[in-house]
Symmetry: C2
Subunit: 143 residues, 2 copies
């Protein structure tokens, strides 16, 4: 039996201190001790961590990907109000993120935009009409 | 300002129905309408979704990765008891997952194992001593 939960998302990082500094510049707090191997950011209902690429590859018996390759994964930050998408993208731009897509209306009924961190990991900022959140900021999936 | 939350994790999928079937065979429930473009699994404090690779690449202005390439990302399922790691890995094996690493004690103090889905996305099943969870199954980060 496999519990239906997604507790931690870990990105392999080539430069953990640099990526950690980028995410701290977004206003996020890493409350783990410093170091060049690992950083953790509790983000609402899930924990977001950075782990040195070679260590993650070794531990998971996976080959290291080419630096800069897209990982075919997006991590989303859902927000309460439509205008918060643009506000978040402006904040990401100010922090040095690469903006991949400015806020636009999507076929699925909401508004979203994308930015990438300095190693090419892609985040979406998304607004859905009538979305609700629990007290930790986790999205209450309506379906 | 960028809210510190990670609400949705989306994997680009080459074959959404096949991957959806794999995750349903783990005992997880996708409560979205069927279709070959999208599937969503609410997993505790975060929502896990599959989205057709070309659509995700287009929406996020990212190049499609080679099929089968590792994404340098791991998604974790934290469990309450040490023996649940082996139980989950056995269940994943029975569902046809590729086991990347059998359960072993890790330098960071816990036990973990890794499996990959049919498109090579890597999951970790992890146990940490004294870990606690909220009522949705989200890990309460202790630090």
């Amino acid at each position: 039996m496999i519990p239906g939960r997604l507790t931690v998302v870990t990105l392999g990082a080539y430069d953990v201190p640099a990526l950690r500094a980028f995410y701290e510049s977004l206003g996020w707090t890493s409350n783990t001790p410093g170091g060049d191997e690992f950083a953790a950011f509790p983000l609402g209902g899930a924990v977001f961590t950075l782990y040195r690429m070679d260590l993650l590859a070794e531990e998971s018996h996976s080959p290291m990907p080419p630096r800069g390759a897209w990982r075919a994964v997006t991590l989303a930050i859902n927000v309460e109000r439509e205008e918060m998408v643009a506000e978040a993208i402006d904040a990401a731009r100010a922090a040095g993120a690469q903006i991949r897509a400015e806020p636009v209306k999507r076929d699925w009924g909401g508004v979203s935009a994308y930015f990438a961190d300095p190693e090419g990991n892609v985040w979406e900022v998304a607004w859905l009409p009538d979305s609700r959140f629990d007290e930790r900021g986790a999205l209450i999936w309506p379906y």
